[in-house]
């Protein structure tokens, strides 16, 4: 069964909405779980790059929509992160939640660095050390903490929408 077309945007929309409107009012103003990054990375691990790239692009655009930064920046960063994360697809440990958790942590750090770099190319002032210490790394830790739950949810969806083809021997 193919993944329904509405599912990625819907899930990513909810994730982006939580990330932009729910977590900040809980006091997570500088560091918060990067749910969109987490979902994209885990989907890349579960389904590979071919399905993760559209997720990354859509998720990035949603993040751009809710943010005040230049439009397309988060999309570009997330597409690159999804591409790099999809190396976990080949891993034999992908059914274990530990691998996605570790990948999510490093992917979130990479996404943060990449996003800051892209902002800098748009002439935005960037305090590298302070942002890394107070925002990027704590956000990556939050994201890694959320990864098992997101992995559990997405792996269920993945199992239901897995393509099973009959093979004749």
């Amino acid at each position: 069964m193919k993944t329904p077309a509405w599912l990625p945007p819907a899930l990513l929309f909810i994730a982006a909405l939580l990330q932009s409107s729910f977590f900040p009012v809980l006091g997570m103003d500088r560091a918060r779980p990067e749910l969109v990054v987490t979902a994209v990375v885990i989907w890349a691990v579960l389904r590979g790059m071919r399905e993760a790239l559209p997720w990354a692009f859509i998720g990035g655009l949603l993040l751009d929509l809710f943010s005040q930064g230049p439009f397309g920046t988060a999309a570009l960063a997330l597409v690159i992160v999804a591409f790099c994360s999809s190396v976990g697809e080949a891993s034999v440990f992908r059914t274990n939640f530990l691998l996605p958790t570790m990948i999510v942590f490093w992917a979130a750090v990479f996404y943060g660095v990449l996003y800051l770099f892209l902002l800098r190319t748009h002439q935005y002032p960037v305090d590298w050390l302070g942002t890394l210490r107070h925002s990027v790394v704590p956000s990556a830790i939050f994201s890694a903490a959320c990864a098992p739950a997101v992995y559990w949810l997405l792996s269920k969806i993945e199992r239901r929408t897995r393509v099973i083809a009959p093979v004749e021997w």
Partner: protein, 284 residues
């Protein structure tokens, strides 16, 4: 024989290389950035945000509610600790206030004593402190912390800076028992200040009041007249203030007038007193 095997999801036709997909999405992202830098996406972006705004506001409100609940729970412990600390502080401050007030009263009384002693240089005055006061109206005694060791003896007058308190009725080495003038068994010869002929007896009442009896009918007695000891009988020295007339009872059929006296001394708040050790009562 058919077995089921997991296959990667595939699209119909020959799938493009992953790198081509990557290139496509990177190009789309860069295009979006370029269009945004030219402000070509401002309109669609604001239109979408106008639609999403209420949803965002709703999610934010839910977040605020959740935050309120979690903050409330997490603050309970802190508030309890803070409350306990504040209670401790309040108790300490209360204790400090009580001590300061007591010191202030003591200071005021001692200053009054000093002033009184200076105003009465002919008298030998011994300051003392009341260390026990009978709470019932049946036993109107007070105990002071001076006794025979420092020259206190029976019959000596005890007064405060406000007025007459009583007299010593018994003593030990370091304490003495005082009969207060508002006790029913107390009787003090007194007069109305300014009227030499208007004499009487000030008697204590069971309810703690003072009544002046045996005031001759011929004398004019007014409310607020000052009552002092007359010195008659030799039990008390003369001219020690007792109180002020609060009410006068005059009846034509009676031989004498009667007056209710408001004492100058507040018998419920006596702290420091003075024993007039220079006055020896006459034994008639």
């Amino acid at each position: 024989m058919l077995i089921r095997r997991r296959l990667p999801p595939v699209t119909s036709g020959a799938p493009p290389s992953p790198l081509i997909w990557l290139a496509i999405f990177v190009c789309l992202s860069i295009a979006a950035t370029f269009l945004d830098s030219r402000h070509l996406l401002d309109g669609p972006r604001s239109a979408v945000m106008r639609l999403l705004g209420p949803i965002q506001a709703g999610v934010s409100r839910v977040g605020q509610s959740v935050n309120g609940v979690t903050t409330g729970w997490s603050e309970i412990g802190r508030l309890r600790t803070e409350n306990a600390a504040l209670r401790g502080t309040v108790e300490e401050l209360l204790q400090e206030t009580v001590n300061l007030r007591a010191s202030e009263l003591e200071n005021r009384e001692l200053r009054d004593h000093l002033r009184y002693s200076r105003e009465n240089p002919t008298r030998t005055l011994l300051p003392a402190e009341i260390i026990g006061l009978d709470s019932s109206a049946l036993l109107g005694y007070a105990v002071i912390n001076r006794g025979g060791d420092v020259g206190v003896s029976e019959g000596m007058t005890v007064q405060s800076t406000a007025g007459l308190v009583g007299r010593v009725v018994s003593r030990s080495g370091n304490t003495s028992r005082i009969l207060l003038i508002n006790h029913p068994s107390s009787s003090v010869n007194a007069r109305i200040q300014g009227s030499p002929g208007a004499t009487g007896q000030v008697l204590g009442q069971p309810d703690g009041r003072l009544i002046m009896r045996y005031i001759p009918q011929a004398e004019t007695v007014r409310v607020n007249d000052i009552i002092v000891t007359s010195g008659l009988g030799g039990a008390f020295p003369g001219n020690v203030p007792i109180g002020r007339i609060a009410h006068v009872e005059t009846r034509d059929v009676d031989l004498f007038q009667r007056a209710v006296i408001e004492p100058f001394v507040n018998f419920h708040k006596i702290g420091h007193i003075i024993v007039d050790t220079g006055f020896i009562p006459a034994k008639l």
